[in-house]
């Protein structure tokens, strides 16, 4: 227990500080607060009330909303279901990035892989007519294959030519976005009667079952995500392949000298990483969105990086971090709608949390801590590494 507490102390304190700083930003960028310049006391009171109401909206939008509780306690939990819906793809993309981290690779390309996966799932979902479970399975497999290849390409390129995965994945993210944009303008993907970039809805038979009735978007994808987290844990900590991944990640030269093929490891990791991100895209299309749009990627792939960093690249940590960021995203929408606080404050909170975790010195100084568990720093190898 104490050990767990030690482990989560730093992330929690980082979150607290990030929320505090963002709170200041919310309050002191508000003209109503600034108008009280002459009167410090009421200014502080106003600031507190504005930041407070923003965070209250954040809570209502992400966990529990008493105003929705007229149908009983569970009605009030609708926001939590939304949090899980947003977190589900985040868990998967986060796992994609985390796995690559452990193998010494920085996969910035989860965004592109997510998109490619979503394209694959969507295409199979609206084109073929298959029996119920089978259809969903086929769509998921399509996503995994497409995204696995897309990710694997990066690994192969790195293994064969030394092209740095960070550069290649950044570039491939753009390629995927433009490719999606183009696809959505082609006959095959354009929904009948629509001019805007939106594909037909995937057929009923391919959709993931909803878990709490049609009023809630909560779908079975969360189980897929949790299963994937367990699988990644096993892969990394128990499997032979995972041993290779970790070995190459920790010291590629020594691994090569001991006969482990770095090229194969790099390629496989990127295939699996891409497949995980693509699975995220599939789950999101088949479970929540049902139709491919040019904005399907949202920021699942980019948030994945902060998720994996916050989760210290471990599967459990990634799941927890994804839930947190999912909550921020879901709650941020309510906050934006009901208060004057833009959703983008969520980005600021994310960035700050990760910064503070990466540099524990700041947190240590603020809270005058001596020993917090810092965990391993990730990477720092430079372009030639």
């Amino acid at each position: 227990m104490r050990k767990i507490l030690q482990k989560i102390k730093l992330p929690i304190l980082a979150l607290v500080v990030a929320l505090f700083v963002s709170g200041l930003l919310i309050a002191f960028s508000d003209p109503k607060v600034l108008a009280l310049k002459g009167d410090p006391l009421s200014m502080i009171a106003k600031a507190l009330s504005i930041a407070g109401s923003a965070y209250w909206a954040l809570f209502r939008g992400s966990i529990y909303d008493p105003q929705l509780a007229d149908t009983g306690f569970f009605g009030g939990l609708y926001p939590l279901s939304e949090t899980i819906v947003v977190s589900t793809p985040l868990i998967l993309t986060g796992l994609a990035v985390a796995l690559a981290f452990k193998a010494g690779l920085f996969n910035i390309g989860a965004q592109g892989q997510f998109i490619v996966g979503a394209i694959g799932a969507s295409y199979v979902g609206f084109t073929f007519e298959l029996p119920i479970v089978l259809h969903a399975l086929a769509a998921i497999v399509a996503a995994i294959v497409c995204a696995g290849l897309y990710g694997g390409f990066v690994g192969l390129l790195k293994a064969r030519t030394g092209a740095h995965e960070v550069i290649v994945t950044i570039m491939l993210n753009y390629v995927a976005s433009y490719f999606l944009l183009w696809l959505l303008s082609t006959k095959a993907f354009l929904r009948e009667g629509r001019m805007d970039p939106i594909a037909p809805e995937v057929l009923e038979s391919s959709r993931l079952p909803r878990l709490a009735g049609q009023d809630y978007r909560l779908h079975a994808g969360i189980f897929i995500a949790l299963l994937a987290a367990a699988a990644v844990w096993w892969l990394l900590n128990r499997s032979t392949l995972g041993f290779k991944f970790r070995a190459v990640g920790a010291n590629a030269k020594a691994s090569r000298t001991a006969g482990i093929s770095v090229a194969k490891s790099t390629t496989f990791v990127m295939v699996i990483s891409g497949a995980l991100a693509g699975l995220g895209g599939a789950v999101h299309i088949l479970g929540a969105d049902h139709a491919l749009t040019n904005e399907v990627g949202g920021s699942f792939g980019f948030d994945a990086i902060t998720v994996a960093l916050l989760g210290r690249a471990t599967p459990l940590g990634t799941v927890l971090a994804a839930l947190l960021f999912g909550a921020l995203r879901a709650g941020g929408l309510t906050m934006q709608a009901t208060t004057e606080t833009p959703l983008d404050i969520v980005l600021i909170i994310q960035a700050l949390v990760v910064l503070f975790i990466a540099a524990p010195a700041v947190i240590k100084a603020i809270f005058r801590l001596k020993n917090v568990e810092e965990g391993q720093a990730i990477g720092s190898k430079g372009w030639n590494g």
């Binding site: 032979t240 070995a247 010291n251 090569r256």
Partner: protein, 499 residues
């Protein structure tokens, strides 16, 4: 001028690398600091040169205590240093390297290299150094690179010149020449601090000797002291300087290499047309100055080099172009040059490091999952067998000392079925006890009938262990000679002078 150190102490975490060291060096003398690897010599000199800050102690020059916080302060105080690992920028020219940090400018801030060129040529001529100011450093052999460092110290008017293990990269003849130049400088009034662990050189060149062991000054000696005396002071117990071994019992040919050429990615040949063979029960030692293609040759044999031409066969089976894994599993044990970089994964536990090569084979793996039990059992067994000093096999390899790290590498590599041992600088940086362990192990392998290919830049090691000696120069086997060849002759061969 005189340099005096008082009570210098430096700790790295729990390790005390320098423990209250006192030292006094006068101008016009060569003061040797003798100590085995890891004794703390470089640490002490880096402190004097301002690269490390001492935890305690003072440095004074001409009886004035100086604050040396950066190399600038040291240079200003007239202290120059030739580093164990050269401090030169490979992609710069000699002149650029020399002006770096002391740039002269002309016009609106443009670099002026002219003056540096002239100075380089002047010093170069005085000491017969033959250094081209406009050559790129990365194109120069290590011996010349060292001269660049010496020139730099002299141009900046060093009154105290520190040389940290300068002979490690030189041939015996180059060493003699360096020692001559050191004496010449001494006679001109320079104080010279000469760091080494080689007894012969100390006795030949030093005026005074200070011996350091485990971070402490354990005594001084005069150059007339015998090698045995110096050695036991250095190590702390009597040591036998000779390796004991019986005459070899040769078997059939194990490794056969024909016309092997190894290129780097730019196509430059690093190993040129090398042919040799080793019999069972024989040690072939490859001598040569560092950077003459030894590492690449060793790597080529185990499949770590990509661009190779020629034939490599072990027991008649082809090894050229096969994967590292295939090479290792066809019976090669490989001790790489750098334990830290190539031998071990320092964040992995000792037991994991012991199965790096076998992790996907039974009993450690059932094909998909790793058997934690088998890994742990193997760990306990090997740690005992090779006397690896660790609290637990589950500790990270980074917690081990250099010697014990090397034992982990040995334990792993020698527990496969072995036909050939390829050992690259297996004792580099080790303390004497560990060196003895490694030597015994290598001889044991040979005596049990295995072929051994040993690469070493330490001539003593080569002469002590070899049954035959190959000398490598600029990528070629310039000669393969019997083990009793004289040092002078080996030295000439190492410098590329053929018979």
């Amino acid at each position: 001028m005189s340099l005096e150190l008082r009570g210098i102490t430096k700790r790295f975490g729990a390790l005390t690398a320098n423990d209250a060291i006192d030292l006094k060096v006068e101008s016009g003398e060569i003061h040797a600091i003798l100590g085995e690897n890891g004794a703390g010599k470089s640490t002490l000199m880096n402190i004097v040169y301002g690269l490390l800050a001492p935890d305690e102690g003072t440095i004074s020059v001409d009886n004035k205590v100086l604050k040396i916080e950066s190399p600038l302060d040291a240079l200003a105080a007239g202290i120059g240093m030739v580093h164990q690992h050269f401090m030169l920028i490979p992609v710069f020219t000699v002149a650029e390297n020399i002006v770096l940090g002391h740039e002269k400018v002309k016009g609106p801030g443009f670099l002026d290299l002219e003056r540096a060129r002239r100075e380089i040529l002047r010093v170069s001529a005085e000491f017969n150094f033959d250094v081209d100011p406009d050559a790129l450093v990365e194109d120069l052999p290590v011996g010349i690179q060292q001269r660049v460092e010496i020139i730099r110290a002299l141009i900046y008017d060093a009154k105290v010149l520190i040389l940290d293990e300068p002979t490690a990269v030189l041939t015996p003849q180059e060493t003699d020449e360096l020692l001559r130049n050191m004496k010449k400088l001494r006679d001109q009034g320079t104080a010279i601090v000469f760091i080494t662990h080689k007894l012969r050189e100390v006795r030949e060149a030093a005026d005074k000797i200070t011996i350091i062991r485990r971070g402490k000054v354990v005594g001084t000696a005069s150059p007339t002291a015998s090698q045995e005396e110096l050695a036991s002071l250095m190590v702390g117990r009597p040591v036998s300087l000779d390796v004991e071994k019986n005459a070899p019992k040769l078997g059939g040919i194990a490794l056969d290499v024909r016309n092997l050429t190894v290129r780097d990615y730019t196509g430059r040949a690093l190993v040129k047309n090398v042919s040799f063979s080793i019999s069972d029960g024989e040690i072939l030692a490859v001598a040569g100055v560092q950077g003459n293609g030894q590492s690449e040759l060793a790597e080529a044999i185990v499949g770590l080099q990509e661009h190779i031409e020629g034939e490599i066969t072990l027991d008649g089976k082809n090894l050229a172009g096969v994967s590292v894994r295939k090479a290792l599993h066809s019976g090669i044990a490989f001790i790489p040059e750098s334990r830290e970089e190539d031998g071990l994964i320092s964040s992995f536990s000792i037991e994991e490091n012991l199965i790096l090569d076998l992790h996907d084979l039974p009993p450690f793996s059932n094909g998909s999952a790793i058997s934690q039990v088998a890994v742990a059992e193997n760990g306990v067994k090997r740690v005992a067998e090779f006397d690896i000093r660790a609290l637990s096999p589950k500790d990270p390899a980074s917690s081990l000392s250099g010697g014990n790290k090397q034992k982990v590498v040995l334990a792993r590599e020698l527990s496969r079925p072995v036909r050939l041992v390829v050992a690259s600088q297996p004792t580099r940086g080790l303390d004497v006890g560990s060196i003895e362990f490694v030597h015994e192990r290598i001889i044991a392998e040979r005596d049990s009938g295995r072929a051994v290919l040993l690469f070493s830049t330490e001539l003593d090691e080569v002469v002590g262990l070899a049954d035959r000696i190959a000398v490598m120069y600029r990528g070629e086997f310039i000669a393969i000679v019997p083990a009793d060849t004289s040092r002078e002759e080996l030295g000439l061969l190492m410098a590329g002078v053929k018979r």
